[in-house]
């Protein structure tokens, strides 16, 4: 049983998604606990896998007993296991929140959503767990298709947002498929470990460069890296708040994970750093994204849209950390995956509560609303401060590591680091007013009772944000080991 956990995390999700409508036929109320149960199981399995990887080293699971590279392999190392726990954890906490929230926002349409919800979570976990690059494409599409449908149940404009996301997402997935095709035609294998062994002798060939370009551009659309982020603001703004939180907290992070996997595991770091300056280009693009996201966020009064643009900026931080290709920045980048996931997911959940209780997402109309729902208001303040990178929150250390890592990257690294710090100050220009308006300002609002299933996950995420900020050793042990494994062949540190 225990040795089958890598595949069970997927199988539980797929079976769970299949049985959701059947359970809905028996009793409608059971669907939501069922979705929570399935995501809880996935969360427990992922924690166990992380424990196992830390204790006994990497896991290689052969699907159906077929030996890789012929069979499909599920390969789990520390980075995988870390992202698995993060994704499954956010999915589980959002699933508890989703019950009441979907009932408020899209009454009568909740039933099919739980199927899609489990499929989205399973698709993301599949991307993370697999060691086969075509499998990655299939899971990416499972997750994306569920995401398109989930976005489309939001308000009136969500339909067009979902349609545009679908067009962008299909371009991205097709590029990834084509890139995989080029790699397969050249090497005759789809297994990631096997690819990394066979590719070095082909590095002189232009076709590998084309494949790399297709994969990087395709995955950059999925992660919403500036300037390919155009689908993101509309999709996050108009989707139901639980879906926004789920997408912001996990889906883009999984894209970043896939990008790291492709650049560091499938294609060797020497190639992406020295032969072709992919990392260099990515770091400049990421820096541009950080600034552009912040500048666009300042002008927004719709909180969800502001948070969406700030996502563009924060994704830039993670990509910058990863693409500086030294150990410190890499650790910071991966740690920021965790902190951004908690904070942005939590912030979207908190905005969902405010929207449901006071009927608006406008910063002016919500003046003082945080006082009427104190726990949510305080949590929102914590998330926003964390996103700005204030000390004692999870966002501080990861940003600090990215900046110090960038400084090591020579002259242009220092320039990027200065841009980062300047931008942190710039980002205060929208985070602090948002917090002031919602938490500290006076406003006349009717008192509302918010169900504990909605408050619980928000408070839990806020506590995690503070906890990881005050005791950064906890995540750093895992993240440090993950970036050690990645940076082993980077040198320096």
């Amino acid at each position: 049983m225990i040795e089958h956990f890598p595949v069970l995390i997927i199988a539980v999700g797929l079976l769970g998604a299949f049985f959701t409508p059947i359970i809905g036929l028996i009793r409608k109320e059971l669907c939501s606990p069922w979705a929570s149960l399935i995501t809880l199981l996935q969360f427990l399995i992922s924690i166990f896998l992380l424990y196992q990887v830390l204790a006994a080293g990497n896991i290689s699971y052969w699907l159906g007993g077929w030996q890789p590279p012929w069979g499909i392999e599920y390969a789990i190392d520390i980075l995988n296991a870390f992202v698995l726990v993060l994704v499954a954890g956010v999915c589980f906490s959002v699933s508890i929140y989703a019950k009441k929230s979907l009932g408020f926002e899209v009454p009568g349409k909740e039933l099919p959503l739980y199927t899609l919800y489990i499929l989205l979570s399973t698709g993301m976990l599949g991307i993370v767990v697999t060691g086969d690059i075509f499998n990655l494409y299939v899971f990416l599409e499972i997750g994306s298709l569920a995401a398109y449908a989930l976005i489309a149940v939001g308000d009136r404009q969500s339909l067009m947002a979902s349609f545009n996301y679908m067009i962008m997402g299909t371009i991205s997935a097709s590029f990834i498929l084509l890139g995989i095709g080029y790699l397969y035609v050249m090497t005759g294998t789809l297994n990631m470990a096997d690819l990394s062994e066979r590719l070095p002798e082909l590095y002189g060939r232009p076709v590998i460069l084309v494949a790399l370009a297709l994969l990087v551009v395709g995955l950059s659309i999925k992660t919403a890296l500036f300037p390919l982020h155009t689908w993101l603001p509309d999709a996050y703004t108009h989707a139901p708040s639980a879906v926004s939180a789920m997408l912001a907290g996990t889906f883009t992070k999984v894209g970043i994970y896939a990008l790291i996997r492709v650049m560091f595991t499938v294609i060797s770091p020497e190639y992406v750093i020295e032969t072709v300056p992919v990392m260099n280009i990515l770091s400049w693009v990421a820096a541009a994204g950080i600034v552009a996201g912040s500048v666009l966020a300042i002008a927004q009064y719709d909180i969800k849209r502001m948070l969406a643009y700030s996502s563009v900026s924060q994704i830039g931080y993670i990509i910058l950390g990863v693409s500086m290709a030294n150990k410190l920045a890499m650790t910071g980048g991966i740690l920021h995956i965790l902190s951004h996931s908690l904070m942005k997911g939590g912030a979207f959940l908190a905005v969902g509560v405010l929207q449901n209780s006071f009927g608006s997402r406008d910063l002016i109309a919500l003046r003082g609303a945080g006082r009427k729902v104190p726990l949510v208001g305080v949590s929102f303040g914590v998330f926003v401060l964390g996103l700005a990178g204030v000390p004692l929150t999870a966002g501080f250390l990861s940003k600090l590591l990215i900046v110090t890592g960038s400084v090591q990257g020579g002259v242009y690294g220092v320039f990027l680091a200065v841009a980062l710090i300047a931008n942190s100050v710039l980002s205060l220009a929208y985070y602090v007013p948002a917090m002031n308006r919602i938490v500290f300002a006076e406003g006349a609002h009717p008192a509302r009772r918010v169900p504990w299933t909605m408050q619980g996950p928000i408070v839990a995420l806020a506590v995690a944000t503070v906890l990881f900020g005050v005791f950064p050793e906890l995540p750093l042990q895992v993240v440090g080991a993950a970036s050690d494994a990645l940076a082993g062949f980077l040198g320096g540190g």
Binding site: E141, A152, Q157, M160, M166, I171, S174, L177, G181
Partner: protein, 117 residues
């Protein structure tokens, strides 16, 4: 030289042409259904690339071969079967979105929808 490329690798030229047509349809057209048609052409051109790259002229299917024979690599076909399923599901999602959009806004023209929303 150029003739060699055109005649020996015409399948790749066809796939690139189709891909460009599809890409134009997705980006350039304003009608949502035309965008979806472009999307399908775009995806199918990639399937064509996989299938034609795997083909061996004169090859047979690797099933029950009694004596050594030239056979076609079956793996890309299987991969593309999966990808076709994905493409069909994407098209289904896209078409159902288009239906919902038409019910909501009464038009499928992207510019008019932006005005209305």
């Amino acid at each position: 030289m150029i003739q060699d490329i055109i005649f020996a690798k015409y399948n790749y030229i066809i796939y690139i042409t189709l891909m460009t047509i599809g890409f134009y349809g997705m980006i350039g057209k304003r009608n949502l259904i035309k965008k979806l048609i472009g999307m399908s052409i775009f995806q199918y051109s990639i399937f064509l690339f996989y299938i034609s790259a795997a083909d061996v002229s004169g090859g047979t299917a690797p099933i029950l071969l009694k004596e050594p024979a030239v056979y076609v690599n079956p793996l890309p076909h299987v991969l593309i079967l999966t990808a076709i399923v994905v493409a069909v599901s994407t098209l289904a999602v896209g078409l159902s979105l288009a239906i919902r959009i038409h019910r909501e806004f009464g038009t499928l023209d992207e510019d008019k929808i932006i005005e209305l929303s």
